[in-house]
Symmetry: C2
Subunit: 350 residues, 2 copies
DNA sequence: TTGTATGCGTTATCAG
DNA sequence: CTGATAACGCATACAA
């Protein structure tokens, strides 16, 4: 026996259907055509154990028949959280970041999440805007690799507080809680620098990146360790900080040449490219007169001539790791190995 | 004078606040602390003209003070549409696509939209899944560059119908309604082929891509036109279809060599890379014995040796154009010029 | 096992 | 110009 309210609703639905004959079908529609209530449909579709098997089957059949699909907006509102994960990166056209995103997406999609992506273009302002937008979407989690301009983490803490799970990757604020996915930066930089030394380069400098970011701090530490383990004193005058793009990399390399370096470990991907520019300008031959190892195995590095030796990260795996950390509710720091690809730019000894 | 219901609500809010002392502030909170109703707050915040200036100011002040930010999920549900735009691309780590996304995002963000990105990995199944997910989010629009596996547009038509504005770019189904952003493919391919002919190459073939996509059809037409305008008969035996990735490009080029070609216009970005592989394998010199022009000015093309001549698109501008077409409600076809970058791989005549 | 009632936060419609 | 009220579609506590 139907209640009066129920019948009213049904009448309303009929009218709605006539007026606008292509609305999305809702659980109420399914309920109406099955003579049951929306709550039961909701439960059946959610796979609740508190619904009769036969009812569930009937609901599922009808839902498929009517082409029902859950309105995730309504569902998210009701649940107070969404099935979206926000990923905030400096620039998506950097191969490293786009591959991290790819890795994260592959895992998250499997688990029923969608990914919303924001670019900061290295600007702190844009990062704040993106984080706020994501919070307003009530995303289930935020994966962040912060902008260079974000010298400290106060804005992140302020905006996302502790309500939204945070997973940081690569460019990580050490003082923030939550999971962190890092490359084995120290170890990697150690290996890379060691390799340059083993090739007979005598004065190995580094284009070190930004010390506001954990990743670069660790790479510098690895570089230093390699020197020390080879009995070479660390010399801060051939450590060039704050360079990460091609142009500043070029400038840093010019200074390195002045300072008598014959090799550079570049902690950034594009600063190494700038170093190549500088060396070409000066007519210095690679690798005979000058050795180079870059970081991040972007595909252009193997296509260049001379091909560029790189300390490769595994961005896809980092994305997967970030997604898994979130899905499993972990808040630890995970280290993804790095791998040295020795190519022409550092291979002086055959 | 407050109504009874209003006071109840206020009491409820107090209790909620005590129980959970860190909830997001809502328009109801603002209304309560200002002694007005949520409707007025909503109107004030929406910039409605039907609200007193002083009230608006008071509301805005209070909102800022309390750190209010609109719950977009609720807003979207109520409005029946969202401020998200879905972008569906084969792979975001393709520089072309990531730059299109960048361009679209830059315009959309200004206009208050956020971007949700889905990758299809060239799979029709994944494309269907992505389109459905976006529809379930009630996105404001979908920007699509379809997967290679999607040989026809039936699934797109079926899923998004006419409810959601569709903007297609680059890989476009001509039979679907809505805006289309295309490179000047025919003209571009004409110029590229003409250039090869002008360099003295005698038998210019093409790695033509997939004929299910408008863009490739047009490039083939441009190629053909260039031959005809030079009085060279079109020869379908040196048109290699269905190649778009590096490996298939390599295979196509091997066939082209067999068929006596001494130049290729490659309609894909990575197929040209495969062609380089094939020529290296066979020990054929570029550009002296064989000329190559690729499509899409990916950054590796200028870093390679020999550097690769390309028919460059303007992906960032294409993204902007897509966003503008959507924002202005246009449904026309827009053509973005292409530009021939002549580099070493095709420059036989100094 | 199912139905009833309510609220998530916002906005639109209608009164006043 | 502002207030009351309902509804967007779904999920859940509670009742039956």
């Amino acid at each position: 026996m139907q209640t009066f309210g129920f019948l009213c609703k049904r009448l309303y639905l009929c009218i709605r259907y006539i007026v606008n004959n292509h609305v999305m079908v809702t659980i109420t529609d399914i309920a109406a055509s099955l003579g049951i209530t929306p709550s039961t449909v909701s439960r059946a579709l959610a796979g609740s154990s508190r619904v009769k098997e036969s009812t569930r089957l009937a609901v599922e059949k009808k839902a498929a028949e009517m082409g029902y699909e859950r309105n995730v907006v309504a569902s998210n509102l009701r649940k107070g959280r969404s099935n979206m994960v926000g990923i905030v990166v400096p620039r998506i056209h950097r191969e490293f970041f786009s591959r991290v995103i790819g890795g994260a997406e592959s895992v998250l999609n499997e688990a029923g999440f969608n990914v919303i992506i924001c670019q900061t273009m290295e600007s702190r302002e844009a990062e704040i805007k993106a984080l706020k937008a994501l919070r307003n979407y009530r995303v289930a989690a935020i994966f962040l690799s912060h902008a260079i301009e974000s010298r400290d983490s106060s804005h992140v803490r302020e905006i996302i507080g502790t309500d939204i799970p945070l997973v940081q990757f690569d460019r990580v604020f050490p003082d923030l809680p939550g999971a962190k996915i890092l490359g084995a930066n120290c170890e990697g930089a150690f290996t890379a620098t060691k390799h340059l030394i083993s090739q007979g380069y005598k004065r190995v400098g580094t284009i070190a990146g930004y010390m506001s970011s954990q990743a670069f701090v660790e790479r510098l530490a690895g570089y230093r360790l390699a020197l020390e383990s080879a009995g070479i004193p660390f010399d801060s005058s051939i450590v060039f900080e704050d360079s990460i793009v091609r142009e500043t990399g070029r400038e840093a390399c010019l200074k390195a040449i002045e300072a008598g370096c014959d090799a550079l470990y570049c902690a950034g991907a594009y600063s190494a490219l700038g170093a190549v520019d500088a060396l070409r300008e000066k007519g210095i031959r690679i690798p005979e007169e000058f050795g180079l190892v870059g970081t991040s195995n972007e595909s252009f590095t193997s296509l260049m001539v001379p091909s560029l030796s790189t300390l490769g990260q595994h961005p896809f795996e980092m994305g997967q790791a970030a997604a898994n950390a979130f899905l499993e509710g972990r808040a630890n720091t995970e280290v993804i190995p790095m791998e040295l690809h020795i190519r022409q730019s550092s291979k002086r000894i055959k």
